[in-house]
Symmetry: C2
Subunit: 202 residues, 2 copies
DNA sequence: CCAGATATGTAGTGTTCGCTACAGATGTGG
DNA sequence: CCACATCTGTAGCGAACACTACATATCTGG
């Protein structure tokens, strides 16, 4: 009972290429032919490794959120709620206009509305976005406990707000907004968080 | 030289149905079969009247923005920049969770990322969103001239911000956020506009 | 009532889609 | 060297896609 012929391609490198195709064309807009060409493999290798197109998307999303996870940890490590929001939104302005990647965010570009048979793709993306929102909420809960946010502040609402602005910026970026435009949006958006911050002693 | 057989269906009613299909499934996810069934017509009638699938989308977008236009006029008629933002975002929270329509906004759900051959669809939607942003910007320019916004305020940035929040709320709505969640986001978002408002005499 | 013009329903067209059968290649364990 | 297991490339599967040819039906102008 041998172990069989070994795989000739690197799964993570292939996933990076698939990620980019989904990012640029969305789940339904990306074809298997485009994916296999970008990944440098043939269809049977793709299906043997990832099951089917949706399995490939999930693997790409896993990789995307893993790469983003480290950055999100830096974000919530900022000292105050305001600094967290600023670091997050300004960072997003940079990332979503990074010419090394397609514009916008994979968790949005991947597929907001899908056709019959792919109805769960939008929910899959929403679930991943919710993870970031939860991380933000936890951070804002802490900020409130530390007296950094006002007593009247709602950490969950703040997290939802920052998440919503992030998504809006992603859509803007994908439709051509430049880095400066996104920075302006981030700059205005942070002021809402500042308005929820406690007046600190100078 | 007769005028030919008259159309047996109402174009606007048919467009309303097509609008809903695009809204729910996106441009690429919507099939001609779904569209014709919803519109109550056969493919040849669709192509004779709207040219092709993309022509139908544009006609549906025209109708959508026309319906929304009246509401946007009410929004910018609010007395202050803050009131404009509040009326806009709170209204969007209602509209995007109205069970009479699919959740979210057609100008987002229609297609953020598309496959080869439909690359211009996202730009078409972006152009329509830009119209709303322009309308907001003009209103904020006026607000600044009236002393309603601070001297340091940037009307274009504020308009972009409100537009971005709207889009973000739309995506949230389409992925299951309820009306109360959207209201919370709107409520926080308005505070950024308030922070740009001049201190008014009490 | 006729001729021209446009709309409609049936029934397809060619193409592309996601996916896979199959044969050959390349590995391991005995 | 052999049995077995897994991967790879070719080639193509059935289904669904956007779209249309064509015959028929229903109008107007004369």
């Amino acid at each position: 009972m041998g172990m069989g012929r070994p795989r000739e391609f690197d799964a993570e490198m292939a996933l990076d290429q698939a990620m980019e195709v989904f990012w640029r064309h969305g789940y339904e807009g990306a074809t298997i032919a485009q994916l296999t060409e970008a990944m440098g493999i043939n269809p049977p290798s793709l299906y043997a490794c990832f099951g089917n197109k949706e399995g490939l998307l999930k693997a790409a999303l896993d990789r995307y959120t893993k790469l983003r996870g480290a950055w999100m940890d830096e974000v919530v490590a900022a000292p105050t709620a305001r600094a967290v929001a600023e670091r997050m939104l300004m960072g997003i302005a940079e990332k979503q206009t990074d010419p090394a990647n397609p514009p916008g965010c994979l968790l949005v570009q991947g597929g907001i509305a899908c056709g019959t048979g792919s109805e769960n793709v939008p929910f899959e993306l929403a679930a991943r976005r919710a993870q970031n929102e939860d991380q933000l909420r936890d951070r804002f809960v802490r900020a409130k406990a530390e007296g950094d946010l006002k007593e009247s502040a709602d950490p969950a609402a703040l997290a939802r707000y920052v998440s919503a602005v992030s998504v809006g910026m992603g859509v803007m970026a994908s439709s051509g907004a430049d880095r400066e435009a996104l920075r302006q949006v981030a700059s205005v958006a942070v002021q809402a968080v500042e308005a929820q911050s406690a007046d600190r002693p100078q």
